[in-house]
């Protein structure tokens, strides 16, 4: 079975750990627990009749994760960059993260997750704001770790891109 390392990146409190928990364990915990360092989890995904094991690195949210934790990123085959729909600053941070990653890892498959879709009424990020990502051909998903919406889709979309590599 093919094994691929994927990393979740983004500011703190955007819901990276909750997304992994939803994707891997189909669970959600309301309580916010800051991640320090990295949590590594795995899940086998079947895409186009192919099984692929994702080793998912949920990396501590920080302003400059690429510089501060570059050792965590080595060998990553894909990235899930996460922003919080209620906090526009997290999308700016996501953009900076992607730019620095792109400088170091060339064209590694990436998807953008705008999380907390269950709070969409409070969102302050519009489709127009994510145009910088869509113009780079990066798929954008509105996800909810709480409800599970689009979480599976985001991971499988990235996985499909990994298979193509």
């Amino acid at each position: 079975m093919q094994v691929r390392k994927v990393c979740l990146l983004g500011n703190f409190y955007v819901g990276k750990t909750s997304l992994v928990r939803r994707f891997v364990h189909a669970q959600f915990d309301e309580k916010y627990q800051t991640t320090v360092g990295v949590k590594i989890d795995t899940r086998v995904v079947e895409v186009d009749d192919q099984a692929i094991k994702l080793v998912i690195w949920d990396i501590q949210g920080s302003e400059d994760v690429v510089l501060e934790h570059s050792s965590y990123l080595k060998g990553a085959a894909g990235f899930l960059v996460v922003a919080d729909g209620t906090r526009p600053a997290t999308l700016e941070a996501a953009d900076q993260i992607y730019r620095k990653m792109a400088e170091q890892n060339n064209r590694v498959p990436t998807v953008l997750l705008i999380n907390k879709a269950d709070l969409e009424d409070e969102w302050r990020i519009s489709d127009q704001d994510t145009e910088t990502f869509t113009s780079r051909q990066i798929p954008v998903f509105h996800t909810s770790a709480l409800k599970g919406s689009n979480v599976e889709l985001a991971f499988t979309t990235l996985t499909r891109q990994l298979l193509d590599k």
Binding site: G37, V38, I40
Partner: protein, 497 residues
């Protein structure tokens, strides 16, 4: 085990150290330390590294001989620091138990992140507050614009109303001076005054909103005023079975704004009659120490302490059964205040009320009306034909030659053709204003004194604008006596008191 080995073992236990020797495919060749403590209880020789550790090994950058990963949460929630290196070309992974350090770091980071989130929230709240303030300011500006539009509307209406009422009052005055005067003409005059007061009440509310009030002190014949009030309210009282008593003051003339004085008295008497269903209403005038005192007493229901707090507020009525806009007392209090006077209320529920108004005003000597004859040419400019005719009658009666014009161009033609010595002009004219007329006169070096007439409540602002150029200001309805006073002064060049 020798002493050295024992010491090393204890040190390993203290650190929670596990050393894993693996081959190039990640298979475990040997290990030293407590594998169970670090979440690897079933570790066997020849096993491939668990996924998390294998992924860490694959992430190792050994270009500089060693590589480190800190705070890695692997299986079963165990957190380790991982140090990786090659010893004699053989990969070795050192795992250090980082659980206690992690707990400490996690608590610190959690606090820091929560503080940061709170600050974000605070920033958002401040932004929302600023947005609300901006919104409030916009609403305030909108309200101000609406208020300005209202004032502008009232100014226009003021002009529109005052012109025909001036006309009615003027002709009624003329009728009353002829032998043919009868009860009908007096009734017309009283009703016109009443109508004017009602309009003034509304206009004054707008004026007070803008803190604009202009007093025009003039000679007031108290006999005439009290007779008018007796006739105006006497019939009304009689029809309702209420006695109406009027006691005139001992003096006959005072110098005060007659329109405002009449407005105050009509407001108080209208109120007294409106609320009194039986008994009497009395108006008692007195004059002492340069102060005119007017008392309006009624045997109505009286006003409770609670209601006394709000009866002087605009648009307040004591009960829903009564008619009226609820402006009378509010306007009255404001007018009395503008005239530097005082208003007092004495009332007992079930017995009646008594309003006492005191207005400081000097006594006025009888006017020398016999010596009114004047000579000269006067141009009257107004677009209302009735007003033109009225002014013509009044001015010609004084012996003056009167020219009339209905617009600025018409007025300029008359000025050039007949050289009038005085121009009396309404402010609002077709094809311009009296301001345009003044500019054209100045442009032609025609230094003719101009008396400005306005029916609009903006007259106070007109005064400010044209005070240097205009010889006098009159507000409709025009005081004939004051007009004579100004015209006479301009034509004779003498000041008359």
């Amino acid at each position: 085990m020798n002493i050295q080995q024992t010491a090393i073992r204890k040190f390993q236990d203290h650190l929670g150290l596990l050393a894993l020797h693996i081959d190039g495919d990640g298979k475990v060749l040997a290990w030293h330390g407590d594998a169970q403590r670090l979440g690897l209880p079933s570790l066997q020789h020849g096993d491939v590294l668990p996924d998390a550790l294998m992924s860490c090994w694959q992430a190792a950058d050994l270009a500089e001989g060693e590589s480190r990963l800190t705070f890695v949460e692997i299986d079963d929630g165990q957190v380790v620091h991982i140090h990786m290196e090659l010893i004699d070309g053989q990969p070795v992974l050192y795992l250090f138990d980082a659980n206690r350090e992690y707990d400490f770091q996690q608590r610190l980071q959690q606090k820091a992140n929560e503080v940061s989130l709170l600050m974000d929230e605070q920033t958002r709240t401040l932004e929302a507050l600023k947005e609300a303030q901006r919104e409030l300011e916009l609403r305030r500006q909108e309200a101000q614009r609406a208020s300005d539009a209202k004032s502008h509307f009232i100014a226009s209406m003021s002009h529109e109303f005052r012109t025909p009422i001036s006309s009615i009052l003027g002709y009624a005055e003329l009728l009353s001076e002829t032998a043919s005067e009868d009860e009908y003409s007096r009734a017309i005059r009283r009703a016109a005054w009443h109508l004017l007061i009602l309009v003034e009440n509304l206009l004054d509310q707008a004026r007070f909103d803008k803190r604009e009030i202009q007093l025009n002190p003039d000679t007031v014949e108290l006999d005439v005023l009290f007779d008018d009030l007796l006739e105006l309210f006497g019939l009304q009282a009689k029809n309702r079975g209420i006695e109406f008593h009027v006691t005139k003051p001992s003096i006959r003339r005072v110098r005060v704004d007659g329109l405002r004085l009449r407005q105050i008295m009509i407001n108080l008497l209208s109120n007294a009659l409106r609320y009194t269903s039986r008994g009497s209403v009395s108006l008692i005038g007195d004059y002492q120490d340069d102060c005119l005192t007017l008392r309006v007493k009624d045997t109505g229901p009286g006003i409770s302490e609670e209601h006394r707090q709000r009866i002087f507020l605009p648009f307040q009525r004591l009960d829903s059964k009564t008619t009226g806009a609820g402006l009378g007392l509010a306007i009255t209090q404001q007018l009395v205040s503008a005239m530097e006077g005082d208003i007092q209320l004495d009332s007992r529920v079930g017995e009646g009320s008594e309003f006492t108004v005191s207005i400081p005003c000097p006594l006025e000597e009888p006017a020398e009306t016999a010596a009114l004859a004047l000579t000269g040419r006067v141009l009257v400019v107004d677009d209302d034909q009735d007003i033109l005719e009225l002014m013509k009658i009044i001015l010609e009666d004084w012996g003056l030659t009167v020219l009339t014009a209905g617009s600025v161009p018409d007025a300029m033609r008359q000025v050039k053709a007949a050289s009038p010595q005085v121009v009396i002009s309404d402010y609002h004219l077709p094809q311009g204003t009296a301001g345009d007329l003044l500019r054209e006169l100045d442009a032609g070096n025609l230094d003719i004194p101009v008396i400005l007439v306005s029916g609009s409540f903006t007259s106070s602002s007109l005064r400010k604008t044209f005070s240097d150029r205009v010889a006098g200001f009159l507000t409709k309805p025009i005081s004939v006596e004051f007009l004579h006073h100004i015209v006479s002064e301009l034509l004779t060049g003498e000041k008359s008191d």
